[in-house]
Amino acid sequence: MGAERIVRLLGFVNHIPPAADVEDSIDRALEWGVDYIVAQGTGSDWGAHWLGSGERPAVDLKSNLRPYLRVAAERRIPFLISVGIAGARPHLEQSLAAIDELCREEGRRLRLGLLDTEIEPRALARAIAAGRRARRAVETDELPAELSAADAKRLVRAVGLAGPEPLVELLADQELDGIVTGRALDIALFMAPLLARGIPRALAAHAGKLLECGGLALEPGDSAEPIWAEVSAEAIEVRSPNPRLAPTPRSLASHSFYERSDPHREKNPGGTLDLSAATYEALPGGGVRCAGARWEEDEYTVLVEGAELRGYRALSVMGVAEPALLARWDEWIAAMRRDVAASPRFAPLREGVDYTLTVRTYGDPDAAAAREGPDPERQVGAIVDVVASTRELAEKIAYFAFIRLFIGPYPDRKSTAGNAAVPFMPVVIPAGPVYAFGAYHLLPVERPDELFRIEPGVTFPREGVAA
């Protein structure tokens, strides 16, 4: 049993392209031994856009995964990855299609366990109507204190953040080549193989926290680089597979700050990770030994992220270098706002309810106005940003605002052929639907996997899925 309780993990971030010399780093990690390859690729700090739209940034998942999935397949090292940023069903499906392609191109057959973490808004509404209570995860007046059934029904799409338990279930499959999940806690991907091999939860969660951003916890921090750790029942030893980077006690202790509200305590499903007594000790040979994490059991909750549609956006961009106008910047924008509000078309609408009109100024008009020898290329930027209840209304208001800014008179104007340099055609750029988190709530569950759809043993490339 002793040997079993040592697990070696190699960690990446799969929405970031790996460094050019990743193959060398992987070779070095393989010399130390690798039992699982883990790479997270979901997150909510982009706001609700990807969740609402079902789209994702132009991540080339196939290229990013290729170096380490090749090694995983050739050496039969199981991998665990979360995919698609927002991690709902369309994102999972797009990512699985990329894995199908990757398998076809490399001539591989993989047996994968899948975890779909999308939650149907109507099912969520029914659960709430039946008495389930979901409280907001952050105290903010932007969220209802408790999610109502009506709030849930308004969501266009929702996901739950999977903890490690459903992944531990999937790992029971002895023939498994890998696990692909939608939205999951980053640390859950690292915790699952550790928990499956009997590592205590506190240590598993601490390991997850150290490894979740790949080489970002090293010095110098870089998420394009991998990170390696050997975890036993007593401690975590972290090393850098790339010799240009190294873990230090300080780099690892500092990493617990990253994107977290409290560096010492973190609420997770089923408990709180307490790092206030964690220790970090440099070892001869460049590794760092980490220990001392504690885990306090509490209620098992799943964070539900849900996006709702708040309107449609249209933008217009222009630049100003004319000193006479720069000197009257605020007046210029205020006159446009008055014109929009007074226009018969828009006067019946309520600003702040039917639409919002924001002008974002990039640069300092006063400093630019005072500059000797104005240069047409050195402009102060204005971005007209309209969000309205319909696509058409957003574009109409943005165009009206643009035209008033472009031709509207101001005192002492001599440049009467146009007030600004305009870089883009069309002058109004439709920016699509605007989403917000309508749900960011903690839902207590009886079983950690009850909200999710688990598909064990799916063979890739899948038949009947177009390449």
Binding site: D45, W46, V138, Y258
Partner: protein, 102 residues
């Protein structure tokens, strides 16, 4: 007069989830850390004043002697849920603390 960022090697901000923004300072050395801490310039009340907010919006001020770090977490206003949000990732919210006088 010393500004906080002059005592640090890392001075940054980022979202901590969509509704919180967190400011991290990692100090040059233990003296710099102790000096900033002893200055009393980063209590929840002082931080609230730096950002023109109520103290309810300050969700934590944490000092960590292990990493020589200071972490300040605030409610993000406006969050990316609002049309007026100009910093979706929260990567540019450190300046009031970075340029505060120690």
């Amino acid at each position: 007069m010393t500004r906080l960022h002059e005592l640090t090697r890392v001075m940054r901000s980022k979202n901590a989830g969509p509704f919180l923004v967190t400011v991290d300072a990692f100090f040059l050395d233990r003296d710099a850390y102790e000096r900033a801490r002893a200055s009393g310039a980063f209590t929840p009340e002082r931080v609230a004043a730096l950002y023109g907010r109520g103290t309810d919006d300050v969700r934590g001020v944490h000092w960590d002697p292990e990493s020589l770090g200071l972490k300040v977490t605030l409610l993000k206003r406006p969050s990316a849920n609002q049309p007026g949000c100009a910093d979706v990732f929260g990567a540019h919210q450190h300046l009031p603390i970075a340029y505060a006088e120690v």
